[in-house]
């Protein structure tokens, strides 16, 4: 699926028997959000974590950039366990896009996109050039959008800026948590198509969380299905629908449901 298979073996992510539990330790009421996850994500792969709400897919994503630390096992990113990473360094080398975009309302579009470069003390000219490049990449005219503020953008435009911001420092890994989930169906389909082409061109390792099978089939090079904090299937989009498992079938039947109905 990737135009150029990236040779950087170090940009893989590996889950080694990872468990993440919450709850009071003393009262023995710990509740595992994900349990015993082992999974290797290869460089350049677009891995879609598919599952219902509460299946643990967002938790897995947040374990990768150390927004969470595993309570059991290890998450290894670029050859190093996240617990050994300086969280700031790790996060600046991993792009992150969330559903509501989370743009800073007091920053202009350019300041939002240039956030990580600014934190990394790039000089102003280099940052400005990068911002312009990224705006063009995500299909927004730099002349029109550079100085706008997030509240002057549509939902789709905000999400495009969110993607541009995540790509700013050219991170090898991109994490996306239902980035198109809050958009209207037409805009969503538009962004999915464009992002699919963009992902192929960029050759980055992408971990993408969604509950929408249609989206997973469109974007994934591999789909991992989660249920109640465990991986129950892992397959290419071509093979996925043939898996004989009730949860896979439940998702498959959602495809035939009314258009626009939540998967």
């Amino acid at each position: 699926m990737n135009a150029k298979p990236a040779p950087l073996a170090e940009s893989t992510i590996e889950f080694r028997d990872v468990t993440y539990s919450i709850g009071s330790i003393g009262r023995n009421s710990a509740h595992a959000l994900v349990s015993n996850i082992s999974q290797v994500i290869s460089s350049g792969e677009t891995l879609v974590l598919l599952g219902r709400s509460g299946s643990g897919k967002t938790t897995l994503l947040r374990l990768i950039n150390r927004l969470l630390l595993p309570t059991g096992g290890q998450v290894v990113v670029q050859g190093r366990a996240t617990s050994d990473w300086d969280p700031i360094r790790l996060r600046r080398s991993v792009g992150y896009v969330i559903q509501e975009a989370g743009l800073f309302p007091h920053f202009t579009v350019a300041e939002n996109i240039g956030l990580v470069p600014t934190l990394e003390r790039w000089d102003a000219d280099r940052t400005a050039a990068r911002v312009e490049e990224l705006l063009t990449l995500v299909g927004l005219d730099p002349r029109e959008f550079t100085l706008r503020r997030p509240h002057e953008l549509s939902g789709g435009q905000r999400q495009r800026v969110g993607v541009a911001r995540a790509l700013a420092a050219d991170p090898p890994v991109l994490l996306m948590d239902e980035p198109f989930g809050a958009l209207d169906p037409v805009t969503r389909a538009e962004l999915q198509r464009e992002f699919s082409a963009l992902a192929r061109r960029l050759g980055k390792t992408i971990v993408f969380v969604t509950h929408d099978l249609r989206e997973a089939l469109l974007l994934a090079s591999r789909i991992v299905l989660l249920q109640a904090g465990r991986i129950i299937a892992s397959a290419s989009p071509q093979e996925f629908l043939r898996i004989d498992h009730p949860e896979v079938q439940a998702f498959a039947s959602s495809l035939g449901a009314l258009p626009g109905a939540p998967a």
């Binding site: 950039n65 927004l67 969280p87 700031i88 360094r89 790790l90 996060r91 600046r92 992150y96 969330i98 559903q99 509501e100 975009a101 989370g102 743009l103 800073f104 309302p105 007091h106 956030l115 990580v116 934190l119 503020r149 509240h151 969110g162 911001r165 994490l175």
Partner: protein
């Protein structure tokens, strides 16, 4: 004697009292902001300290102002008769709105924005100074505005402990049973409050970006 003729005859005296009043308020507000805003920043991640400081600030708010001025007189260093005691009391009153709004402003930020800030690799200090504080500023300013108006009103009572200001006319007028003298203190105080409200409201609106 009508209030108007009293105004005209004593205009320089009234103006002087107005300036003294304003100085009391400005000094007290400067201290209250210097204490309240940093304290609000400090308690964002410290729930125990937050409850204690908000609790104490609320208690002062419930003490009637005349009583608080009275309580402070016998206290060494900060007490006694005069401006210093009045300023201490005014700071105590102004603290709650400033502290509470600072805290509410800093914590009432869209969780998606904070999550993005953390995930982009901002340090805790960068999140406070580049995200939380600028976004909280309009709310903090609203607290300062409330506190300023409150302080302008309460500062009239400060005349009771010899701090001067527009309260001097009000107390004198009450003692003389003379409405004109009371109004010579009350009207300028009301005008000060309205002007402060308009000015700070204007600044607050300019800070709103969304």
């Amino acid at each position: 004697m009508t209030p108007w003729t009293f105004f005209l005859e004593h205009r320089s005296e009234i103006l002087e009292a107005m300036l003294a009043h304003l100085m009391l308020v400005v000094t007290a507000m400067a201290f209250a902001i210097a204490i309240g805003v940093p304290l609000g920043l400090l308690v964002v991640h410290r729930p125990t300290l937050r409850n204690i400081s908000l609790g104490i600030a609320s208690v002062f708010q419930t003490i009637p102002s005349l009583a608080l001025f009275g309580f402070l007189i016998p206290i060494p260093f900060i007490g006694g008769i005069g401006r210093r005691t009045a300023i201490v009391a005014l700071v105590l009153y102004a603290l709650l709105p400033i502290l509470r709004n600072t805290y509410v402003g800093l914590t009432g930020i869209d969780p998606a924005v904070l999550e993005a800030a953390e995930a982009m690799g901002m340090t805790d200090a960068q999140i406070v100074w580049r995200v939380r504080f600028p976004l909280a500023l309009p709310v903090i300013l609203a607290g300062i505005r409330t506190a300023t108006i409150l302080t302008i009103g309460i500062a009239t009572i400060a005349a009771a402990i010899g701090a001067g200001g527009l309260g001097t006319f009000i107390f004198r007028g009450v003692a003389m049973v003379n409405d004109a003298v009371i109004l010579a203190g009350a009207i300028p105080a009301a005008l000060l409050a309205i002007l402060a409200d308009i000015l700070l409201g204007w600044i607050e609106r300019r800070l709103h970006i969304v």
